[in-house]
């Protein structure tokens, strides 16, 4: 009796379905946006919630699923068939002043299986342009290629680009001369050039800055995360550095020239010394370029020498690098990235590592690491503080006495430390931007510097899982995102809308007006685009186009 009743009710229900239900495919399964927990990344979490609300108004069932850091990374990186969408970010680094690193690695099809092409975008047109810009040494032509490639991504919409954040750095202007701050394009005032140019106003000559997270092992062959890099780039010189203008310039090199697309000639500056007093020689420079390639002993730095065919000395202070292929970004991605390491210390270490599983990355020189840079190590306690002192023998000797990085996880306490003068630079801030913006009003000695970052925050769409494999669907859900609202509300005004991985901070490379060119661009347009692509709204639920079955499991 009950069964008959159920059948009757079901049939009656069918009779009342809207007409378009009969031309619709299956309802789209509930979608999930992965995010770090609100406590860990409050702004990104709120942004994900806002995006979820926008997508709900398209008829999608969407939830934001917070996951602890390790689990989050594990799923996004290693379980690529499993997730629908995820929040993610690329942080600004000096070497990303050239767009090649992100352009090549984020979207080329070679990186779908294991590399950074997390979304699985497979676009032959993109691959061709990405390789072409890498080999184009004419700056104007390369700029055109980078602009063109951004338009390809604008049409593909593999990400829902959200914002380019602003760098907020607060400092004590009673201690430091404001005019000595150097604003590096896309990085802000927390950069190498500020630390060596900084002028004290009075007796306090120690730079005391903060880091929320501890860096990893400090070695010339290890990439110790963002905060650790602030210290390592001061201690180890590089042949070139990214200047405040965002372009590479000779640093430990007297000159760098490129007589042909695959030849780079370097003349080393004379008179340089390691912190232990020994001279920096051309053999040290050759060793520093070759060592990262030694049999898996420097896995993180190895990609930066992957294109080097050979390095040979051409004089007492000069060397020649022969590349396997032309590489437009070589000066930025390799010569401005590789640290000069003392051969007399590291050659025996590499020798000792032969036949062992350990790498040079895990070796910590004792008692402190030796470099040749404008600062030298005094003491290193990775969970407490890193103390550097100015190197009086360096040609770019800083005006400050010491550079001290305090590691403190409690950001509220660190704000208090800035006000009380315990620290004089707030360089790592993960709290509410509005709170920081108001700080100069209550503490007149505090100045705030805000500048646009090279990095960006986004929601990645996994093209391995329908409906994200449909470009029309991706464009529609991207159009539904109100980026202005995200920048203003979720990111507290400390961000600008994004629609590209190339930040407007890199004015030369950013495609003009790209942030306004999201196809459709509004919620209403998004609804129309979905309708035009065959997606059907049945009641308040979005369905696939007619004939399309939902076969993808819901993320669990």
């Amino acid at each position: 009796m009950m069964n008959r009743l159920a059948v009757a009710v079901a049939l009656a229900g069918l009779g009342t379905l809207p007409a378009n239900a009969q031309t619709a495919g299956d309802p789209i399964r509930p979608l999930v946006i992965l995010a770090q927990p609100q406590a860990a990344a409050p702004q990104e979490y709120q942004a994900a919630e806002m995006v979820a609300e926008a997508w709900k108004s398209l008829g999608l069932r969407v939830t934001v699923r917070p996951l602890p850091g390790q689990q989050f990374n594990q799923i996004v990186w290693f379980e690529r068939q499993r997730w629908d969408t995820t929040t993610w970010q690329m942080v600004g680094r000096a070497e990303r002043s050239d767009p090649d690193e992100l352009t090549y690695n984020l979207f080329v099809s070679a990186n779908i299986a294991n590399g950074y092409n997390l979304v699985g975008l497979n676009s032959p047109a993109y691959d061709k342009l990405a390789q072409a810009q890498r080999e184009e040494l004419d700056l104007t032509k390369r700029q055109g290629l980078i602009h063109e490639i951004q338009e390809v991504i604008n049409q593909e919409q593999p990400y829902g680009f959200m914002v380019h954040p602003k760098n907020l750095v607060a400092y004590n202007k009673a201690v430091w001369d404001e005019s000595s701050m150097v604003d590096q394009a896309g990085i802000g005032i927390r950069n190498f050039w500020t630390w060596i140019a900084l002028k004290p106003k009075g007796a306090q000559k120690d730079v005391i800055l903060n880091s929320v997270a501890p860096p990893t092992n400090l070695s010339p062959f290890n990439i110790p995360g963002a905060q650790g890099s602030w210290a390592t780039e001061l201690v180890w010189d590089r042949l070139m550095r990214i200047g405040p203008d965002g372009l590479p310039r000779p640093w430990a090199a007297e000159s760098v020239t490129r007589p042909t697309p695959t030849i780079v000639d370097v003349v080393l500056k004379s008179g340089m010394k390691w912190h232990d007093g020994k001279p920096v020689t051309i053999e040290d420079a050759v060793f520093s370029l070759e060592a990262p390639g030694y049999a898996d002993k420097s896995p993180m730095y190895r990609p930066f020498v992957g294109n080097i065919e050979k390095v040979e000395t051409t004089g007492p202070m000069s060397l020649r690098i022969t590349l396997k292929r032309p590489d437009a970004a070589f000066l930025v991605s390799s010569l401005s990235k590789l640290n000069l390491a003392p051969k007399h210390i590291w050659a025996p270490i590499f020798e000792n590592l032969k036949g062992k599983p350990e790498t040079a990355e895990s070796v910590m020189e004792q008692p402190v690491p030796i470099g040749s840079g404008p600062f030298k190590f005094v003491s290193v306690k990775l969970t407490e503080q890193i103390v550097l002192e100015a190197n009086p023998d360096h040609w770019a000797k800083p005006s400050v006495n010491r550079w001290i990085m305090r590691i403190a996880p409690n950001i509220e306490a660190t704000l208090g430390a800035l006000k009380s003068g315990e620290i004089n630079f707030l360089t790592d801030y993960t709290g509410d931007p509005e709170l920081l913006a108001n700080l100069p009003k209550s503490s007149p000695n505090i100045a705030l510097s805000s500048s646009l970052d090279i990095g960006f925050k986004f929601i990645a769409y996994n093209e391995r899982r329908p409906p994200f494999n449909d470009v029309a669907f991706r464009r529609s859900i991207s159009a539904a995102i109100d980026r202005e609202a995200l920048a203003a509300d979720a990111f507290g005004g400390a961000a600008v809308p994004a629609n590209s991985w190339v930040s407007p901070a890199l004015a030369f490379w950013a495609a003009p007006g790209i942030d306004k060119k999201v196809p459709g661009g509004t919620l209403e347009a998004a609804k129309k685009m979905l309708k035009d692509a065959g997606y059907v709204l049945v009641g308040d639920r979005l369905h696939y186009p007619a004939g399309v079955k939902e076969t993808t499991p819901v993320f669990q």
Binding site: Q70, P214, N217, D296, S362, S420
Partner: protein, 326 residues
């Protein structure tokens, strides 16, 4: 007695073996691995494989376990994946800070709790008791981070009497433990975290002492002491308090062990460089050797304190000692 001690030692080693096995397995069951700390656009499968190999994580879990146990039997805890230093060195650097923080706050909490508890037992039913008990309960119930932030806001941010974190002023070098202990700067930095922990911990000894004293004061031997005409001081201190101290001593020993691991919150709020903070960072970054070493150390302290509590019981209560000799 010797047999009892040997039994205790065997028990202690068994517990540590189980704990070491559990921590070994648990960390490897957690999602992710240490290579996730190094993800970047240039991170490749080859990079990951090389890193896993260098960490010894390319071997089977049994091989890893046998290697870990073999090293452990030789007193070797391995090398931190991320800090490039021996775990034993890192723990040895952090342990004194945790021990000092724990001992100072626990001793202060128990000294205050015992005296205040005994006093409240005597003054039962008064206004003081009516105010003191809810206060003790409130500080006991308050989350440590909240208490810590409150003290930071009042005594560091507003009054400026204490620093906001760390164990020494920026740029100061810790030196030896002896140098640290006579350093004014060190004690100045210790004050707020110790006060937070002390306020959090004092509720238990206070309430325990009061409750036990109330019970003991009704015992027949106290009535007998009164009948003998002993002074009030003598009755309280020599007779009542000694008996009432038994559970408080147990709580102290257990509290010492528990606080070693439970200082995680206070150490994080005040950036105090102790074992708890090291443990949090190790867990967050999947630094297995460091996390395993820190857990093992905390477990070792906890079970050792349990054993010491047993022995202290025997010293304070002859009945327990007789039981051991049988």
């Amino acid at each position: 007695m010797a047999r009892h001690l040997l039994g205790r030692l065997g028990h202690l080693l068994l517990v540590l073996w189980v704990v070491s096995g559990l921590t070994f397995v648990l960390f490897r069951l957690m999602p992710g691995d240490p290579t996730l700390n190094f993800i970047s656009p240039t991170f490749s499968e080859e990079t990951r494989a090389a890193l896993l190999k260098s960490f010894g994580l390319d071997r089977s879990i049994w091989q890893q376990y046998l290697s870990w146990m073999g090293n452990l039997l030789q007193g070797e805890l391995g090398q931190s994946f991320l800090q490039g230093k021996k775990v034993s060195v890192l723990l040895a650097e952090a342990l004194p800070n945790t021990v000092i923080l724990t001992l100072v706050s626990l001793c202060a909490a128990y000294a205050f709790g015992i005296v205040a508890g005994a006093f409240l037992a005597f003054r039962r039913g008064g206004v003081v008791e009516a105010m003191a008990i809810p206060s003790a309960l409130a500080t006991r119930a308050a989350p440590e981070f909240w208490l810590g932030m409150l003290l930071l806001a009042a005594l560091a941010f507003q009054a400026g009497w204490f620093p906001t974190g760390g164990a020494l002023s920026p740029g100061e070098q810790p030196g030896t433990i002896g140098a640290m202990l006579i350093s004014r700067d060190y004690w100045w930095h210790l004050a707020l975290p110790a006060l937070t922990l002390m306020l959090y911990l004092q509720g238990l000894p206070l309430l325990l002492m009061r409750a036990t004293m109330l019970e003991v004061l009704n015992d027949e031997f106290i009535v007998m002491a009164r009948m003998k005409g002993l002074s009030r001081w003598s009755i309280v201190m020599r007779h009542a308090a000694r008996n009432a101290l038994l559970p408080v001593v147990t709580a102290f020993a257990l509290g010492l062990g528990a606080s070693m691991g439970g200082n995680v919150v206070v150490e994080t709020v005040f950036a105090w460089p102790g074992v708890g903070r090291l443990l949090v960072q190790a867990v967050q970054s999947a630094d297995y050797p460091l996390a395993q070493g820190a857990f093992l150390l905390i477990a070792a302290v906890l079970v050792t304190m349990n054993s010491l509590a047993d022995l202290a019981y025997a010293a304070l209560d002859p009945r327990v000692a007789i039981g051991m000799k049988r």
